[in-house]
């Protein structure tokens, strides 16, 4: 007997031989015939919000958490439509993406993921109490080691730091720098100040010292609206917004001369799309050509800094109105096409099925670079397995 429910499963995926473990994606054959990939945006989720971190917190901060909870600058909530992908909830019923075993069986194995870069969306960076934020960050990184990196050798991770308290952030970076499985330091989508500002330079200095990349992942803030014109009304607007927010951060990083001060620094834009990169470079160069007197510290055209220092992940990839326009987009990127990294965003609602992540079929060499080569070169990971 096979039951087709009047109401489909609401909360958890019902595993059965014909559907598990390929709940994520419809095509087993495609995944098994194409080369392995590197996924640069894979989420390890904290079940029970931060309850997963309780075992890793000191008694002092456990009490704080139990008594006051997490407190971030409030305001800015929208009713959403989809939440986490419903089929990605582990059989335990816990939050999607919260158990390494299920991530492995539902995603890493069937989709031939050679390496996955973990990006936990913890509340550490947005805590109003910076000491508590630092404690949450340390606990989150310990949790990543114990429950993700140790059990699964294909995983790499982002160091969670309290970015708004750079001294505490640097201390956490130094604590993790000896573990090569931590490959980058994580910023929110919209830090309290534009990312190039002096406040954050100690973090970049430490990243350069240890060869760590810097990422800015969409969403997350210190309470600021997602637009330069205040709070929008609908989650749809909130979900377009990261593309604009990341552009502001790139403008700031370039204009402030961060890449002149830290010439080895590499910054990855995660989950912001990439279609805006060409016009941003054109506009940066156009405005700079007239206003360069204001920023005499810049040694070259702004677009050149972008080409050397900025990477971007694929999801959510823009879907052009005409198929040939995707080719134009790649041409407009020019050398920056070598900085586009495949990312699924598993297990969020807007995640891309790896074999369907681009609106057109990519040429084989480009496909290899985006799915593997570009990330392998950036992170120093092995060539195609």
């Amino acid at each position: 007997m096979v039951a087709t429910r009047h109401r489909p499963p609401q909360t958890e995926f019902e595993a059965s031989p014909s559907t598990a473990p390929l709940a994520f994606g419809a095509s087993r054959s495609a995944a098994s015939t194409r080369p392995a990939l590197i996924d640069c945006d894979l989420h390890n989720e904290l079940h029970g919000d931060v309850l997963a971190l309780v075992p890793y917190l000191s008694d002092r901060w456990k009490r704080h958490l139990e008594t006051f909870g997490v407190r971030s600058p409030a305001g800015g909530f929208f009713p959403r439509f989809m939440d986490h992908r419903e089929d990605a909830r582990p059989p335990s019923g816990r939050r999607a993406g919260s158990e390494v075993a299920f991530t492995r069986s539902q995603y890493l194995d069937p989709f031939r993921v050679a390496y996955g870069i973990l990006i936990p969306l913890s509340p550490a960076a947005s805590q109003q109490n910076h000491e508590f934020g630092a404690a949450l960050a340390t606990a989150c990184n310990d949790w990543q080691v114990a429950e993700w990196l140790d059990p699964e050798p294909r995983l790499r991770a982002s160091i969670v730091v309290p970015i708004e308290a750079p001294d505490l952030a640097v201390a956490e970076i130094r604590r993790r720098a000896g573990d090569p499985r931590f490959v980058q330091v994580q910023f929110t989508g919209r830090p309290q100040e534009p990312m190039g500002r002096r406040k954050y330079w100690p973090i970049y200095e430490a990243c350069q010292e240890y060869g760590l990349k810097v990422i800015s992942h969409a969403f997350g803030s210190y309470g600021q609206p997602i637009t330069g014109a205040g709070w929008p009304s609908f989650y749809l607007e909130d979900h377009v917004g990261p593309a604009q927010a990341m552009q502001a951060n790139i403008i700031s990083l370039v204009t402030e001369g961060v890449f002149d001060r830290f010439p080895d620094l590499k910054v990855i834009s995660v989950e912001n799309g990439a279609g805006w990169l060409p016009s941003l470079m054109w506009r940066l160069d156009a405005s700079w050509s007239l206003l360069r007197e204001e920023v005499p510290h810049l040694q070259m055209a702004p677009s050149e800094y972008v080409r050397r220092h900025i990477w971007a992940t694929s999801q959510p990839m823009e879907e052009p109105h005409q198929p040939h326009q995707f080719g134009e987009f790649i041409e407009h990127l020019g050398s920056l096409a070598d900085h586009i990294l495949f990312a699924s965003d598993y297990p969020h609602w807007d995640a891309d099925q790896p074999d369907e992540a681009f609106p057109v079929r990519l040429a084989p060499d480009l496909e290899h670079k985006i799915y593997y080569g570009n990330a392998a070169a950036l992170y120093g990971l092995g060539e195609t397995k």
């Binding site: 007997m1 419809a26 054959s29």
Partner: protein, 166 residues
């Protein structure tokens, strides 16, 4: 249920039966595992008119809505649809159960097949023991041609067929 090697989802909503190919034309997700929602229409901002007679399935991946009756995309009904099947309910004289027949209009009944069905506790129960089952889900859009946009693509031969209309 399986029809010609394709997974098809059958829905029983407000006393009506609907059937859609279990394959979202966007990224190939198993569409029918998404949630059922009322149709939602609006004439002015702030107005939310739910239409239970126009139920939609929202894909489990990105929430793309498809009309259960026609398979057409709510956003882009003219250019995007998932294959809809005609569903007829008829008494099964060999047992006490009713049968659900899936078929595609404008084609011979060669593709239609009747499944015994009962409704128990709000679930449609389809008995497949008496029908051969190949047990596969349709392959994703592996036959994409160079430069083709995914979301205009429908797998196998379904793209040019009119959807089932009830």
């Amino acid at each position: 249920m399986d029809l010609d090697g394709h997974s098809v989802g059958v829905f029983h909503v407000e006393g009506e039966y609907y059937a859609l190919l279990n394959w979202c034309p966007h990224q190939g997700a198993r569409l029918c595992e998404g949630r059922l929602w009322s149709g939602l229409e609006s004439d002015v901002p702030g107005d939310y008119a739910t239409r239970t007679d126009r139920a939609v399935i929202a894909c489990i991946y990105h929430g793309w809505e498809f009309d259960l009756r026609t398979g057409r995309s709510v956003c882009e009904p003219e250019r995007l649809r998932v294959r809809a099947y005609e569903v007829t309910v008829e008494p099964d004289h060999t047992s006490d159960q009713d049968g659900v027949t899936l078929g595609r209009p404008s084609r011979t009944n060669a593709t239609a097949r009747t499944f015994p069905v009962t409704v128990e506790h709000g679930n449609i129960v389809v008995d497949l023991r008496r029908t051969p089952v190949s047990g596969t889900v349709p392959n994703g859009p592996r036959n994409l041609s160079e430069g083709e946009i995914h979301h205009t693509h429908i797998p196998s031969e379904g793209s040019l067929q009119p959807g089932g209309t009830r």
